[in-house]
């Protein structure tokens, strides 16, 4: 064995050691939550660092669904997220198409305006919308919440749909027009199916904007039966001594769909990001 080979082996060893340790540190918080969600009630505040606790139990999960309003929050959040997702996809797919295919007065202003919204601090829109919602008596209503979420998600979605349509050759629609389609049919039958990856990202992004959102919901929803997941989980976390297990179990349930969606779509997401979009 020569010196070069030994050096190579040492380098490989160091690489693996580093990446394994780093990965463990990265996933530790997740393992910690799993561990807490499995602890029996009397061992909740244990100082053990074991991942699978002694006498592991699913009691926290059972309790979560039987003696807390968690299911209610889950339904509320699912409803709000689904509406935001539908609105986002519908509006962004049409507006993005118009911005991509046509030249018209004010187009550049719209594109720059969309980019500028990304520099708004959260309160820039939240405070005036909040005051408007009070005046329109839309506090404590999902309509108000959905309006605010849509306003957060829409700029990015329009921008990224437009960027994707730009990559689809116009000649495809021209061919469809020659075959007798009108402008709408050309969009609906030819371009729309081709834009599936971008639609998927738009859907995911609008869904995630609403799914586990706290700072907006905390101001708009004050009646407990309207609470969404994030507000509920925050309550559990605040009374950590007694409800830590519930918090852990609940946050895992909330994270799993989000994480799965994200991982399944991450391929699309990455190609979408490199296609000139602005936000992940």
């Amino acid at each position: 064995m020569n010196g070069h080979k030994i050096k190579q082996i040492l380098l490989d060893f160091a690489t693996y050691l580093f990446i394994i340790i780093f990965t463990l540190v990265t996933i530790y918080p997740i393992l910690n939550v799993i561990s807490i969600s499995l602890r029996p009630a009397d061992k909740l505040l244990s100082t053990s660092l074991r991942i699978i606790p002694e006498n592991a139990t699913l009691n926290s999960y059972i309790q979560l669904f039987t003696s807390t309003p968690f299911l209610r929050w889950l339904v509320n959040s699912s409803f709000v997220s689904a509406v935001v997702m539908l609105t986002g996809v519908t509006l962004a797919s049409t507006a993005g198409y118009a911005l991509s295919r046509f030249k018209f007065w004010g187009k550049k202003a719209v594109m720059i305006g969309i980019l500028i919204t990304q520099m708004f601090p959260a309160t820039m829109l939240l405070l005036p919308l909040y005051i408007m919602l009070i005046k329109l008596h839309l506090l404590n209503s999902y309509l108000g919440l959905i309006i605010v979420y849509t306003s957060t998600a829409l700029p990015f979605c329009v921008w990224q749909m437009k960027g994707y349509y730009d990559t689809i050759p116009v000649s495809l629609e021209e061919a469809a027009r020659i075959d007798g389609c009108n402008q709408f049919q050309a969009f609906y039958k030819v371009v729309f199916p081709l834009a599936l990856p971008a639609l998927v990202i738009t859907a995911l992004f609008s869904f995630m904007t609403a799914w586990a959102e706290y700072v907006v919901a905390a101001q708009i929803l004050q009646e407990p039966e309207l609470y969404t997941l994030a507000i509920g989980l925050k309550q559990f976390e605040s009374s950590m001594a007694t409800e830590w297990g519930l918090y852990a179990a609940g946050s895992l349930i909330v994270s799993i769909p989000a994480v799965l969606l994200f991982l399944i779509l991450s391929k699309y997401l990455i190609s979408g990001l490199t296609l000139g979009s602005v936000k992940g």
Binding site: L91, A98, V254
Partner: protein
């Protein structure tokens, strides 16, 4: 009106109406508010009072302190995101590495988890008695536990640690994309010329990474500067005694806990202008938007 105009209108109008209603109108309403005395006491009978709220923003000492903290927060976070992200991407891009998809998936997880849950979970991990961080410090490092959430500096550090954890995967993914676009022949040619690993990194890797990373860093700066979730939830609204605020959490508190609507609106405008300057500077520099029109 011809058919084309009609088509554009039909497609653009719904989105534009909504965007006008929820973005443009509130934006100008916010500017009006920033010149008003609106608060909980003057909610119905508010009136325009000129630049008084802006004067208040710039004459209060807190603004400068919080602004400085925001700069530290943004700078430290983005540096860590980029350094960790690029380093991991370099490792994941090595051909000899096995189980690549597993490492990649696990390392991307912090990005996939909803931010609220990340923040609340780290807050519980920073708990003095029962949090995993202090237990680890006591058991394996033999040091005395740290009062993470009770002291200003430690609480701010806790927020930064949380945010570093959730932010590096984005940079890693972007860097990985950049690395994969580098043609292998360049490295082979460099090998033939006898280039060292450092020379290859400096003269091939970095020039290829730069155009991919600059827009990502611009975004990273804007997102981090603007990230309300982490500071608000990890420090529980600026605890201890409002010492851990960055600008966005400070203005959120002024608006929704202290009901200083006019003041909060003025501060929002100031924050927006700061970000706009930073944003324009970087966009000009990177020309990230040029291809979009």
């Amino acid at each position: 009106m011809n058919r084309k105009t009609l088509f554009i209108l039909a497609f653009l109008l719904p989105a534009l109406l909504i965007m006008f209603g929820v973005i443009v109108y509130p934006f100008f309403y916010n500017i009006v508010l920033s010149f008003s005395n609106m608060s909980l006491r003057h909610f119905r009978d508010w009136k325009i009072i000129g630049f008084k709220q802006y004067v208040k923003v710039f004459t209060e000492n807190t603004f400068y302190v919080v602004f400085l903290k925001t700069l530290v927060w943004t700078f430290v976070n983005v540096i860590f995101h980029v350094v960790i992200g690029v380093f991991l991407a370099l490792i994941l891009n090595r051909k000899s590495l096995k189980f690549k998809p597993i490492f990649r998936t696990l390392l991307i997880l912090p990005w996939a988890i909803p931010q609220v849950i990340t923040a609340l979970t780290w807050r519980s991990m920073f708990n003095y008695e029962y949090g995993a961080v202090n237990i680890f410090i006591a058991k394996y490092l033999n040091m005395s536990p740290v009062e993470w959430l009770l002291r200003p500096f430690e609480a701010f550090t806790a927020c930064i640690i949380t945010n570093v954890w959730l932010g590096f995967p984005f940079m890693m993914v972007v860097a990985l994309g950049g690395l994969q676009s580098i043609p292998n022949e360049l490295y082979e040619a460099a090998d033939i010329d006898g280039a060292s690993a450092w020379q290859k990194f400096k003269n091939i890797t970095v020039p290829f990474l730069r155009p991919v990373m600059t827009p990502a860093i611009t975004l990273g700066i804007i997102w981090t500067f603007n990230n309300l979730n982490i500071v608000w939830l990890v420090s529980n609204g600026g605890e201890p005694s409002d010492q851990t605020h960055i600008l966005v959490s400070y203005v959120y508190k002024a608006a929704f806990n202290l009901y200083r609507y006019g003041y909060a609106a003025a501060l929002s405008v100031v924050i927006f202008l700061i970000l706009l300057v930073i944003g324009i500077y970087f966009l000009k520099k990177t020309r990230a938007v040029e291809s979009i029109y």
